[in-house]
């Protein structure tokens, strides 16, 4: 898989990881204060933010792995920044990335439209929820409350990551800086590559 990747694509994912690493940390900041007040559900509605880099990078690069990799790299960089969520972020990064990747794999990396991006956001939400269910012990919570958390997370994944990711990718395409990447070659942002 790695051989089909250009170094510039990998570095691009890494730098996007840094940019979103900064944004993610801003949000963790915001979320923590909330979480103290209203519990872990505080994070749910904005969980989609944490999936967005997968979708943006896949939108731009359109190769197998372009969803898992940036998410993982963003997580590694966040760990390098030394925050207290720590090494397990890498694991959750991989899990979230795999969730998004699954949606693109199911559509065989042929279609890159809003529907698939929302699907990817949902995929990331589902995977990360299963992982969270285990690690954070959601099993101890009331099933209806868990269902509420799950619904919020899926919605957030579809809307913030899916729609938001496509919006940012398209806006970036319009700036003309993506010459030389798959997204620019498929002229219209929606057409299958």
């Amino acid at each position: 898989m790695l051989n089909s990747w250009k170094l510039k694509e990998i570095v691009l994912m890494s730098l996007f990881g840094v940019v979103f690493g900064i944004v993610y940390l801003l949000f963790i900041h915001l979320g923590n204060i909330w979480a103290g007040l209203i519990g872990p559900i505080a994070y749910e509605w904005m969980f989609g933010i944490w999936f967005i880099v997968s979708i943006i990078c896949m939108h731009i690069i359109r190769k197998p792995g372009a969803a898992v990799m940036p998410e993982t790299m963003a997580a590694v960089i966040e760990v390098m920044l030394g925050n207290a969520v720590g090494p397990r972020l890498i694991l959750s990064g991989i899990v979230q990335g795999l969730g998004a990747e699954a949606a693109f794999a199911v559509t065989r990396y042929r279609h890159f439209n809003l529907f698939v991006f929302m699907l990817a956001g949902i995929g990331a939400a589902v995977f990360s929820f299963i992982y969270g269910f285990f690690v954070s012990g959601y099993a101890a919570l009331d099933p209806s409350f868990v269902a509420l958390m799950f619904t919020l997370r899926v919605l957030s994944g579809a809307i913030i990551a899916g729609i938001g990711g496509k919006y940012i990718g398209d806006a970036l395409l319009a700036t003309g800086s993506l010459r030389g990447y798959a997204i620019a070659r498929s002229k219209t942002g929606d057409a299958s590559a």
Binding site: A174, T175, G176, R179, G180, A184, R185
Partner: protein
């Protein structure tokens, strides 16, 4: 006498980017011998960098470009080289001092290069020390690269290139961010290295006049990507700017009193005071890292000042990367963003800045010169009559420089005040009414432009050189 050995040969080479319809380079033919010093010149966008990247094999792989014709490197067709193979013999220094390192410290960066070359671990340390000594950078061995000034970064990049002990050195506008004295030192240092190691040097450059007689040969490329000329190098004359009509009025436009800036306990600007007039053009000059950008940002209120006052209401700021300012997806909306000007005024403004033809383009997607005009337009539409331009001259070709000159002149005539940060002394001499000299965060003074260019010592203290055209300018009739 030895028979010269040909190391690079291009035979009728054309190059096209996959998403372009036209050729970026077309029927390029030349050959370069070992030990030559070749300059590649040409207007912006003519394909100079592209040509360089064909020689170090970054293209066509990295952009999926389409090459026609034959490229021979060291007597072997370029397609036959394995990835990375040629880069062990050909080293490159790029234009952007900020984006060419991947490790935190100088030592690690050099080690990274040597590891790529599969140098045995035992030898790495020796090689690093040797190259640092021969390039005079030993004191920087353990320094974090991102804390260095642009000039120093560029020298570190060159050391990284030399540590590979290459046969060829490719340079892509290596001095465009350096202050004049540092640039001059860089060139004489390169001259020394070339003699010592017998390198072949190929450099892309807009400002060949700064290079004196360094080169042996010049290959000029034209707008269409053809070789326009391939001749023996003759030192370039500096660009002649038209004489400017003075437009300074008596009315004050901005005055700073005891302005100082401190960030994270580091004093970046010591208290300074000065006054500017309407219609005056003030050039801010000084060494890399002396606080020029900091001063500009503090004056227009982007940086918090530590003490002092600035009396000015409407300051417009055009950063080195004008795209930092852009907020909307089209030029016309960008200009109209604040809603301060009427539709009539906007239209006139767009017309005078030649933005009407790109009104519906995305401001990020237009050329660099146009971006700057959009940013200036946006500032003027907000009724900001004091403009700050941070390094508008770097990396610009002659046409763009003249265009910038006229644009500034027009603003001055209509009574605006323009502050320009630049390392280009010729440009400075042609536009400035006065010059602010900065050094290590300290304002040495505000000098009238007519007298400053003769004070060689004062200029040298600020890493500046007298403009080469100053004598001609003084003699030419106004």
């Amino acid at each position: 006498m030895q028979v010269p050995e040909t190391i690079f040969a291009m035979n009728d080479v054309s190059f096209r980017f996959p998403d372009d319809s036209h050729q970026t380079l077309s029927s390029v033919t030349f050959s370069i011998n070992r030990g030559e010093r070749v300059a590649i010149s040409g207007p912006s966008g003519s394909g100079k960098s592209t040509l360089l990247y064909l020689l170090n094999r970054l293209y066509p792989m990295n952009c999926d470009g389409i090459v026609k014709g034959e490229i021979e490197l060291f007597g072997k067709a370029s397609e036959l080289y394995a990835p990375g193979e040629i880069n062990k013999r050909v080293a490159t220094v790029f234009q952007d001092p900020d984006a060419q390192f991947c490790m935190p410290t100088v030592e690690e960066e050099l080690a990274f290069t040597l590891e790529n070359m599969r140098t045995p671990a035992k030898e790495i340390e020796k090689r690093i020390d040797r190259v640092l000594e021969s390039t005079g950078l030993t004191h920087l061995k353990y320094v974090n690269i991102q804390t260095l000034s642009g000039g120093m970064k560029q020298r570190v990049a060159t050391a990284c290139a030399l540590v590979m002990e290459p046969e060829v050195l490719l340079l892509d506008e290596p001095i465009s961010h350096l202050d004049p004295l540092t640039a001059k030192e860089f060139i004489s240092w390169l001259d020394l290295l070339q003699r010592r190691f017998g390198l072949t040097v190929i450099a892309v450059e807009h400002r060949l006049d700064s290079w004196g007689a360094f080169f042996d040969r010049e290959i000029a490329i034209d707008r269409a990507g053809n070789i326009a000329e391939d001749r023996e190098f003759i030192p370039h004359e500096t660009l002649h700017y038209p004489a400017r009509i003075k437009s300074v009025s008596d009315e004050d436009s901005l005055s700073a009193e005891g302005l100082s800036v401190t960030i994270k306990d580091r004093t970046l600007l010591l208290p300074l005071s000065f006054t500017s007039k309407k219609g005056e053009c003030i050039v801010i000059a000084g060494p890399n890292g002396s606080g020029k950008s900091t001063l500009v940002k503090a004056l227009c209120g982007i940086l918090k000042k530590d003490s002092g006052t600035v009396s000015a209401h409407a300051c417009g700021y055009v950063p080195q990367s004008p795209e930092f300012l852009f907020l909307t997806p089209s030029v016309s909306r960008e200009i109209a963003f604040s809603g301060t000007s009427s539709a009539q005024e906007l239209e006139e403004l767009m017309e005078s800045l030649r933005l009407a033809e790109i009104a519906e383009h995305n401001p990020f997607a237009v050329s660099h010169g146009q971006k700057r005009r959009v940013a200036i337009g946006a500032m003027l539409a907000d009724k900001r009559n004091i403009l700050f331009l941070d390094e508008p001259t770097s990396g610009q070709d002659q046409r763009a420089l003249l265009e910038l000159f006229h644009l500034i002149e027009e603003r001055l005539i209509s009574g605006d005040t323009v502050f320009i940060v630049t390392h280009d002394m010729e440009f400075a001499a042609s536009v400035a009414d006065s010059v602010l000299l900065l050094k290590e965060g300290h304002l040495s003074g505000m000098f009238p432009a007519e007298q400053i260019w003769e004070e060689t010592d004062l200029l040298a203290e600020h890493n500046l050189l007298p403009p080469k055209g100053v004598m001609q300018l003084a003699e030419s009739p106004a």
